[in-house]
Symmetry: C2
Subunit: 215 residues, 2 copies
DNA sequence: CTACGTATATTCGCTTACGAGTAATCGTCG
DNA sequence: CGACGATTACTCGTAAGCGAATATACGTAG
């Protein structure tokens, strides 16, 4: 019962917000989402879609209004959003906007274990990342400019945000790279030695063992 | 068969990297991780830990070396990392560092559905977020400064990155907030009207319906 | 010395996630 | 007009995620 929301998956929020416009069957929801480009950030997983819709219905946030076959197509169930569903969507939106959540990225995970590789290799890898990031920034800027004259600003903020974060990341990687390339990053020698020998210097050994009482 | 890694969960990488230092039993891995503060970014889920370790063993990345009880404690299994496991950890690290992955945040999801709330409320919510972000930035800076004289830089990069991203986000939210407060954000009136009436103006209606062919 | 809180160490089983499979219809190109 | 690929629409089974329960030992305050 740790579920703060009856249905946790963010796909559920997307589903609710499209269903607010008019009743739909699941596949149609997916189509609308896809048409609005929401699937670029979050590709639609078919398995999850139906699970999520069923769970929303189970919790009374959606209700089935019509379940019939039309022209012999496979049976479809059309869902309408309930009052509770509308409230849930609004409340969820409020929470998402107002409260920052710590969401660890896989890059952070990478950084936290980069000590396992040699510093020169890390430098090379980060250079590659830096390259790819710059390309992405370019592409994102371009895409945004295209959309600016098709869509109102309101529908572009999330792309603008994504771009800003991409730029920030590119800048950060760039600056770390500079330190590594110029050799101003501290303890480079220790790091290199550690990686060659596979053993940490004694003072760091203690840190690595911290929190262990056994043996 | 969509699994690019035998065990997808990032916890598996953490497990491999601690097990490289010396053989351990699962609970001990968790303790070491906790002692190193890795659990702040990623709180350890007990259920997942044992699932992940078992899967790593199943795929030959870890192997059980000893399974006995000591002093009557519940039975423990000690795992050693295999050569394949070592390779997997290195290769995974390489990938994480070199290749940016699009990882949509929940804030992005919030932004993409903020049209469902009134602009004034959104402003208030973002103000709250901005406040909280600033506090977090402060706290993170402080924590980093503390750690700087205890830990070598190598073990702090991921915190530095997290801080940089936090700052970037704070800056972005701040600038959006300015636009909203000063009324320079476009279509504020349309947005407000839409929310009061619950109906989009006809030109946007078309967009919202795009991608639908039915009825 | 005993009762109780805390640390150790793991298992169990419910829920979710999601890929792959299925099956019908529609459009279209020859 | 018929074959075939794309689109529509969904189901099912496997695997993963994870909370909560379990069970023992240890420390310590009364």
């Amino acid at each position: 019962m740790g579920a703060r929301r009856p249905v946790e998956n963010l796909l559920a929020l997307a589903v609710l917000t499209v269903a607010v416009q008019r009743p739909m069957h699941p596949y149609e929801m997916a189509s609308v989402l896809r048409a609005r480009g929401k699937d670029e950030d979050m590709p639609i997983k078919w398995g999850s879609l139906y699970t999520v819709v069923r769970n929303l219905a189970k919790h009374g946030l959606l209700e089935a209004v019509e379940s019939g076959r039309q022209g012999g197509r496979p049976e479809r169930t059309v869902y309408r959003v309930t009052e509770a569903g509308r409230r849930e969507a609004e409340d969820w939106t409020r929470e998402l906007l107002s409260t920052p959540r710590r969401e660890p990225s896989s890059f952070e995970a990478g950084l936290s274990v980069m000590g396992g590789l040699a510093p020169d290799e890390v430098t090379a890898l980060l250079r590659q990342r830096s390259q790819l990031l710059q390309e992405r920034v370019e592409a994102a800027r371009h895409a945004l400019d295209q959309q600016r004259d098709e869509l109102p600003r309101l529908f572009l903020v999330e792309s603008e945000y994504a771009l800003a974060m991409l730029e920030a990341q590119a800048a950060w990687v760039g600056s770390l790279l500079t330190e590594l390339a110029e050799g101003t990053f501290p303890d480079l020698e220790t790091w290199r030695a550690f990686h060659v020998s596979g053993r940490m210097p004694p003072d760091l050994e203690a840190l690595a063992e911290r929190g262990t009482t056994e043996e």
